[in-house]
Symmetry: C2
Subunit: 220 residues, 2 copies
């Protein structure tokens, strides 16, 4: 009945899901043991090796999955024909929904970004670089005045704020519409400050240079 490859894939998923479940219960991903994961997956410890060389490989598999999601999500999350504010709301909404719906995987990546092995951190960095590039691409249409290097700066800034707020978001009760809404509001406000700065920067450095008319004696 059960196709061999299918059964193998099922066990593999059980290992990954068990691992994520333990992470979701509040344990640091680095202190979870292979035996613990195997046991939770209803499989003997030795079986683990039929699927992964070690725990690091399991982590890398999860990063790969998230990478695929990222590519899917960034397609069509920006729309230059709409207002900046609409784009901010849309982007923040997509991000927030994804984090809430994939809390365990995101929790893992959030930990591994600072505490993972070099291989893990490298894999995560590479996905995030891709993401940053996508944001910079969206900025070309959204804030036409920006130079390429400025787009990179702003893209990294946006990414930094998203990532930095992930820990806080993971702590917001999923069920509380009020608290989730409050988080969303605050994050949108932060993005608005950044985009105000980006637009200002774009106006200043644009080829069709317009004088800044609001009194700002300082930056740049």
């Amino acid at each position: 009945m059960a196709n061999r490859a299918e059964q193998k894939a099922r066990t593999r998923n059980a290992l990954i899901d068990s691992w994520l479940g333990i992470i979701g219960s509040g344990v640091n991903f680095a202190s979870i043991s292979l035996r613990e994961v195997a046991k939770a997956a209803g499989v003997v410890p030795t079986s683990f090796y039929r699927h992964f060389d070690d725990m690091d490989e399991l982590g890398l598999a999860v990063v790969d999955e998230l990478g695929l999601d990222l590519r899917r999500l960034t397609r069509g999350s920006f729309d230059a024909s709409q207002s900046m504010d609409a784009n901010i709301r849309r982007g923040v909404g997509v991000y927030q929904r994804y984090v809430v719906d994939n809390a365990e995987s995101v929790e893992f990546v959030n930990q591994a970004r600072t505490g993972g092995t070099p291989a893990l951190r490298g894999a995560i960095d590479s996905e995030l670089s891709y993401f940053s590039t996508r944001i910079a691409g969206a900025l070309r249409a959204l804030v036409p005045g920006l130079k390429p290097s400025e787009r990179d700066t702003v893209a990294q800034l946006i990414l930094a704020v998203l990532l930095e707020n992930t820990t806080a978001l993971l702590a917001v009760p999923t069920k509380s519409r009020a608290l989730q809404g409050e988080f969303r509001q605050e994050l949108e406000d932060k993005m608005r400050v950044i985009m105000l700065g980006a637009e200002q920067l774009g106006t200043v450095s644009s080829p069709t240079r317009k004088p800044r008319q609001t009194p700002q004696p300082s930056a740049l």
Copy 2:
């Protein structure tokens, strides 16, 4: 000769330093064992308990030390009589020097912020809240037009960008003036975007409301 309290403090410091040394060698703080730390400190495992109940308490001690540094550093890191750009350069400089000079402690806090026990994360959050409040306070003089809630938003934004760039800074070779300079430049640029946004926001929401004269059809 050796005063008993002094000797005890010396051992305590040896434990902390050994622990930080292991962290500095690239090991995740959560996977370092009590026995490992005791051994590196040249002391028997049982001795550890004369100083800390468990490893978590050791971590909390380090957080406390960093908290003191933070209070010292934030005194006089802003100067409303100077230009915004001067303040940015000063703030980024202080931050960068501190991270480079205290790489091991900062590495720990950077990991513990996402991967620590609830007690550890709580202690760190509390220090960072203090820091955020200090930044918001500095903004009162620096960008007078901002409403209190806007100052909070901008302060959190600044803090997020500092924290988010810490992992990257920890990976920049300490010795390379060129790479350190490049990092500083990029971080300053990010801060400038935020402050441009903040000043713009302050202009818009100020009681002496001036019309925005640069064409920005969107945000807020």
